[in-house]
């Protein structure tokens, strides 16, 4: 599950230079001109090569800052605002081709105008000296439009992107009619290659998201039909979600609110959040009971993961399968 995908031809160079297929569908959508612009990260020493590939595909590129990613534990407690770094945690340096380490944050687009807008709104929070430096919130809101996200989803984001208060994915679930979980609205696999969207939809049945994902799906199908078949299969895997950064995909099926499975894979991106893969591997069935996660093997209890209240990044576990 979720292995790196190497295209036969279309956009293959991007995977080769990055060394993995992260955001491949978004790159393809940008090359096709469906997505107005996007941001990506590339090793500084490979920037020149990446730039040449962009040129070959008719994309404009603009580099921004260099990220030196650090593990959470290595960030001194004295760094002001460190708790707000929810995903990528990095020290920032100005871009310079002579640098040896780090990844440069780049923006790419078919249109110079879209590229400029995306670049200006696209600063990503970074540690500079002893502080986290973040862009004004208004830029973050407008950045969603620059990336081509649907307006309803940007509005939903403005309302519920509060890590102290909401579990964003659970709010989207509440906003979805029961059992109407459309696979084109699955955002959980976006960081592991296999997704047609890179935003958090306002609902798992958001019509604008479905239309936009369908456009991307059709365009990719013209170039790499076998990739589309793989993406579709991954998008329909049953999932156990704790919150945005802690989720698992399974080879299995859901019956009577219980997920019976043969294989499990952590897809939460941050390895330090992968607390339960070993427990899940020992089981063959998982379900939710009063917010607790119950793992069974041959019908016998293997583990009960007790629900815990959290003041930051609250977790409300749920099981879902997109169809």
């Amino acid at each position: 599950m979720f292995e790196t995908y190497i295209p036969k031809r279309f956009c293959r160079e991007f995977v080769n230079i990055k060394g993995f297929s992260g955001q491949l569908t978004m790159i393809m959508a940008t090359v096709k001109g469906i997505k107005p612009s996007m941001d990506d990260w590339v090793s500084v020493d490979r920037y020149d090569g990446y730039r040449k590939i962009c040129k070959r595909y008719g994309l404009f590129i603009r580099p921004d800052t260099v990220f030196n990613v650090v593990e959470d534990q290595k960030i001194p407690l004295s760094v002001i605002g460190r708790e707000r770094l929810t995903t990528t945690k990095a020290y920032g340096l100005p871009f310079n081709k002579l640098r040896r380490n780090g990844s440069v944050h780049v923006f790419i687009s078919k249109s110079k105008r879209n590229l400029e807008r995306c670049f200006k709104n696209g600063w990503y929070p970074l540690i500079i000296k002893s502080r986290v430096i973040d862009r004004p919130l208004i830029d973050a809101f407008k950045f969603g439009y620059d990336l081509g996200y649907p307006e309803c989803c940007v509005n939903f984001f403005q309302r519920y992107n509060n890590w102290y208060k909401y579990s964003y994915l659970y709010e989207a679930l509440k906003n979805t009619p029961e059992n109407k979980y459309h696979y084109l609205c699955n955002p959980l696999t976006k960081d592991v290659t296999y997704s047609y969207i890179y935003h958090m939809p306002c609902s798992y049945n958001c019509q604008t998201t479905i239309e936009s994902a369908e456009r991307i799906r059709t365009a990719i199908y013209e170039e790499e039909p076998q990739f589309v078949r793989k993406i579709d299969r991954h998008l329909k895997l049953p999932l156990l979600i704790f919150y945005e950064r802690k989720s698992y995909a399974f080879k299995g099926e859901i019956k009577n609110n219980r997920l019976y499975y043969k294989d499990v894979c952590f897809i939460g991106q941050m390895p330090e959040n992968n607390l339960y893969e070993t427990d899940l591997e020992k089981g063959d069935c998982v379900f939710i009971e009063n917010k607790d996660v119950i793992i069974l093997k041959n019908g016998k209890l293997k583990k009960r993961i007790k629900w815990q209240r959290k003041d930051f990044a609250p977790e409300i576990p749920f099981i879902v399968q997109f169809n």
Partner: protein, 159 residues
């Protein structure tokens, strides 16, 4: 009616006197006004427009750091980055110790296409604040400020 009260009547939000976010302090930002105005802009556009009109009157009455920052925010949100820059420069002139004013200015400059100066400030804010005060610059010395930023960048290789 006092500006603070009027502000509350129009927006439903609290306006507090601007506090200084010193380099030696421990907060990322001292107030959340900029963020709250961003939410207001998307959720209640009428209120935001009314605020924009009213601010012009307030600015004639009161030339404080609080009002300049507030005005800068409304220009920034409505994408008039040149005017936002001018307001943040005035706020800096009144209180160069306030890091929030510098960060606001840096992002206005990024939107204004002055990328080198913007990055120069973001990556060297401590030196810039120190030398701005040392040289006793004001909002009328923008060209000198630019030279200062570029000089700091050259010496620190940080931009």
């Amino acid at each position: 009616m006092a500006i603070f009260e009027e502000f509350k009547n129009i927006t439903g939000l609290e306006l507090l006197s601007r506090q200084t976010n010193y380099l030696s302090g421990y907060t990322e930002r001292k107030d959340s006004l900029f963020s709250r105005l961003a939410v207001l802009y998307f959720s209640e556009q009428k209120k935001f427009k009314k605020l924009q009109q009213k601010i012009k009157v307030w600015l004639k009455k009161e030339k404080t750091e609080t009002i300049f920052a507030l005005t800068g925010y409304t220009y920034y949100i409505s994408e008039d980055y040149k005017k936002a820059k001018s307001c943040f420069l005035k706020a800096i002139s009144l209180n160069p110790d306030n890091l929030d004013n510098w960060i606001d200015l840096a992002f206005a400059l990024r939107h204004n296409g002055e990328y080198e100066i913007s990055n120069g400030i973001l990556f060297n804010y401590n030196y810039i604040i120190h030398y701005y005060k040392y040289l006793k610059l004001t909002d009328r010395n923008y060209l000198t400020l630019k030279k200062l930023v570029l000089e700091v960048v050259k010496r620190t290789h940080n931009a």
